[in-house]
Symmetry: C2
């Protein structure tokens, strides 16, 4: 394995040659270490690191040898440092498939979350072990650590869904920046980032609630926060001891996470309900969005053949490959009844009921299709990346959420009037047809999707530029301490002013006791004395 | 008085001729109505409206006929609509002078604020009457209102220290944007804008506390919030009935203020302690800051004559013109003992103790002096505008606060390590000399001032551009509803989840009662029955 320092130096000269950059620009560039999370998370962080390389920074990605999406490619001017782990790819895939199936069978609600959590226990334990192994093999590998030290990194950019980046940054003595979609019930953001979340109008992530809740929903919301906080805290316990051991002093995972300089949250007010936040939180949702490119000729021809009716795009994302035959037929027969042409990303067997207006594709250029003027609707599983592409292009949605945060994502789009939800497991052909006809024919869905698109596009600065600005800010200033709230230095009872309230209550009670005592004394002194005088 | 519509149309054509703009640009421009507040507030809003005219918008300023600072000028391409009020300028000046003298004699602390407020009662009443008169003569002047309606305004930009802009915007059916430095204890921002302010680390405005408080200071902070909230609420009562009467339905001042689309706060994290805020709050402090221009030749010569020692700039702002002879002598004798040259903005009699290194000026180009490389320190009364110029240019300060928010402003700069405070009323020559020597000779003050300067200058977007962006956003989209938190639609007990907490407590108590009852029942049923069986 080549030394990171060598690679970094070599890269700088390659950049000098390839981009014809001046020496000043080279000198001004920095070194960025990336600690990514696999899956769709990688797609998002990849956009940031591509922009960082465009801006002449040297980027090194630290990742396990077993990944699903994270990989080098010739167009990516990035160094990969692979950490060998004893888990093979097929085992990882089976674990994830297991998780998806479990989720699809037992969709967790705030009330069933506990049972769901227990059932997922083994799986979470496996993930924990993989993460610990990765962490061990970085932190305890003295040769690697020495090489990273020599790499002269200015900042570590991490997706905190994979833990340990904080330890690495502290060990290397460099600041770190988080890029994060959410943690369940915002537990990490609230407890470690100190972002306030009034339970009366900030719905817990995954709760599928909106910012306008009935009394019953607000009760549900409080339970949702309680339960998810409890789960997190019990999960954290294992990491607390690991972090304390590694740092050689008593600490907690949360305390270490709280040292993040900037939190780049992958949503914005087009998707998110407006809520309080802090100066070191930046909402950069949809930073991967970009204008559509022309479609492949054959696909363009198919799309154009739809005439005035336009097309519908259907994708369940990269995780779900096949459906049962029954489900596929049900969907295909609904599609056969609409005048639009349908582009369906599907790797399974062609359904028997497929209409002449529907075409199956192994892969679709989703962003280019959503940006096509003929596209009337997007049927989506509700992943954040896909939803953001639909928002960017102003396309109304039919949400068929399957697992994870997809239910919550679709709930957001429903609340904003840009989507209709269909239950994938109970739906009939008529349900899907009804939903599709609604979003295509009722102009309010298109109007709302276009409103979200305008909100997304009309920002003071593009989300990607803001994200990269703050990464570079941390590099330039070795942190962003001026944005860090003093709440981090308060205990929980100080934060909630319980000591002050207790003191004031004690004062009031003491005052009341004194007054009562004085009254009683006066009563005894004067009334009783008066009586005895009278009696005399 | 020429019709606003006529003026607007005429101005567009003048702009077309003067700036050689294309018709498309003219069509894209909008009409902005400004409701300013006098004094230093005007200097700030003026920068925004100058930028708006630069961007081709037609700007109309609505103001009373009696103003101190607000005035038209040939370089200001703005229409002024003057509302005649029955208060003359000299009376207004005497009121303000009275207020300054009162403040200087009885500097209010959280504990003396109540007495101060009572003493200020008459003055506040006078201000209230002036504001009501201005409001009456706008809202009830049907001719003026009809003209304003015809003016086709897209947005109203208001400084809410002068009330009534909200009523005008509602009557005209246009959105409004606030530009505001602060309200005491952030009462308006908290109650009407719904910005959260955890009392444990967000110091009440005017409290002179920082974000890092001892237990005693946190007690003081809570009192500060309570007291200032109470004062505001008692002050609001009069306006509540006025607003209800004008709008013809029961409402409150606060409810009407809560409809502001955007709150442009005139501070940033260089000055402010980091705190939670909301998506429709933008911190645009120092939007008036700009690079220094060359000094007048004579002044430049004096500055250059200071050699390596450099110069000190001293100004007490535009409100305080003279000092007592004793105070002026005390200050001058301190200046005479430093090696720096001193530029003192002072209109009073030349002090007898003045040294050869000190020169008095009726007026100084403050920003250009602060931006001069020879400037070593700035002695300031602590107005926000001056402090921001010092931050921008990285000049350490000696704060001699006099009244209003100046004590609090200087407390911020002290906490950030960029200033030393001297008490104007009790100081000796040695105190001032010591403070001056500290900020000039102890490098930490210069370093901290430079750190604040870097924070101020290294933002994703300049404060003025952000302020104008959001004004234009509101014009383009007829509001910014997507940034408005749902908290506005909750009652205070719903907001604090008191109904949910009450319900959960009731559930717990009911459950406990039921369990106790069951236990008692079981006890009676089984134990007593058992005993009676035994007895049998």
């Amino acid at each position: 394995m080549a030394s990171i320092v060598d690679i970094t130096m070599a890269k700088k000269f390659v950049q000098l040659l390839v981009f014809n950059l001046t020496l000043t620009e080279i000198v001004l560039s920095g070194n960025v270490l990336i600690w990514p999370t696999d899956g769709s998370h990688w797609l998002n962080i990849k956009v940031i690191l591509e922009e960082l390389t465009q801006r002449n920074h040297s980027v090194t990605v630290l990742t396990s040898s077993t990944t699903l999406f994270i990989s080098s490619s010739p167009d990516l001017l990035v160094d990969f440092e692979e950490i060998p782990v004893s888990v093979n790819k097929s085992y990882l895939e089976s674990l994830i498939e297991h998780m998806i199936i479990m989720w699809m069978d037992h969709k967790p609600t705030p009330l069933t979350l506990w049972a769901f959590y227990k059932e997922l226990g083994k799986l979470l334990e496996a993930f924990f072990l993989i993460n610990v192994q990765l962490c061990d093999r970085v932190i305890n590998n003295l040769t690697l650590m020495a090489r990273l030290q020599r790499g002269g990194f200015d900042v570590l950019v991490a997706d905190p869904v994979t833990l340990c980046s904080e330890l690495l940054a502290l060990k290397l003595g460099i600041p770190f920046v988080y890029t994060l979609r959410f943690s369940p019930a915002s537990t990490v953001e609230r407890h470690c980032g100190k972002i306030p979340a009034p339970v009366s109008y900030v719905p817990a992530a995954l709760s599928e609630l909106t910012d306008r809740m009935t009394f019953g929903e607000r009760v549900k919301n409080i339970f949702s926060y309680f339960l998810q906080d409890y789960i997190f805290h019990s999960h954290w316990r294992e990491w607390d001891s690991y972090y304390s051991k590694t740092l050689g002093r008593p600490t907690t995972l949360c305390e270490t996470m709280s040292k993040a300089e900037i939190w780049l949250i992958r949503t914005y007010w087009d998707f998110e309900f407006p809520r309080p936040y802090l100066p070191n939180f930046e909402f950069v949702g949809g930073l991967h969005c970009k204008p559509a490119k022309p479609l492949p000729p054959e696909m363009e021809e198919f799309v154009q053949s739809s005439g005035e009716d336009g097309v519908v795009v259907f994708s369940l994302g990269s995780m779900v490959k096949n459906l049962t035959e029954e489900k596929a037929n049900l969907i295909a027969s609904a599609f056969a009844q609409i005048p639009q042409k349908v582009l369906w990303r599907y790797k399974g067997k062609e359904p028997a009921t497929i209409g002449p207006n529907t075409r199956l594709f192994d892969w679709i250029p989703q962003n280019d299709l959503l940006g096509h003027p003929k596209t009337k609707a997007f049927i989506t599983h509700g992943g954040t990346n896909g939803i953001y592409e639909a928002i960017y292009h102003g396309v109304p949605m039919v949400g068929v959420p399957l697992f994870g945060d997809q239910y919550d994502n679709v709930a957001h789009m429903k609340a904003k009037g840009a989507a209709v939800e269909v239950n994938m497991y109970t739906m009939t052909s008529a349900d899907l047809l009804g939903a599709l006809r609604a979003v295509i024919n009722d102009p309010s869905y298109k109007e709302n999707a276009m409103r979200l698109s305008r909100i997304h596009r009309d920002q003071p600065m593009k989300p990607l530029d803001r994200a990269v600005f703050w990464v570079e800010f941390v590099m330039r200033h070795k942190g962003a301490n001026h944005l860090r709230v003093a709440a981090h230095d308060l205990s929980w009872f100080q934060y909630h002013s319980l000591d002050v309230i207790g003191f004031l209550l004690a004062c009031v009670i003491t005052a009341m006791l004194l007054v009562t005592k004085c009254c009683l004394f006066s009563y005894h002194k004067f009334i009783k004395t008066g009586k005895s005088i009278k009696r005399d």
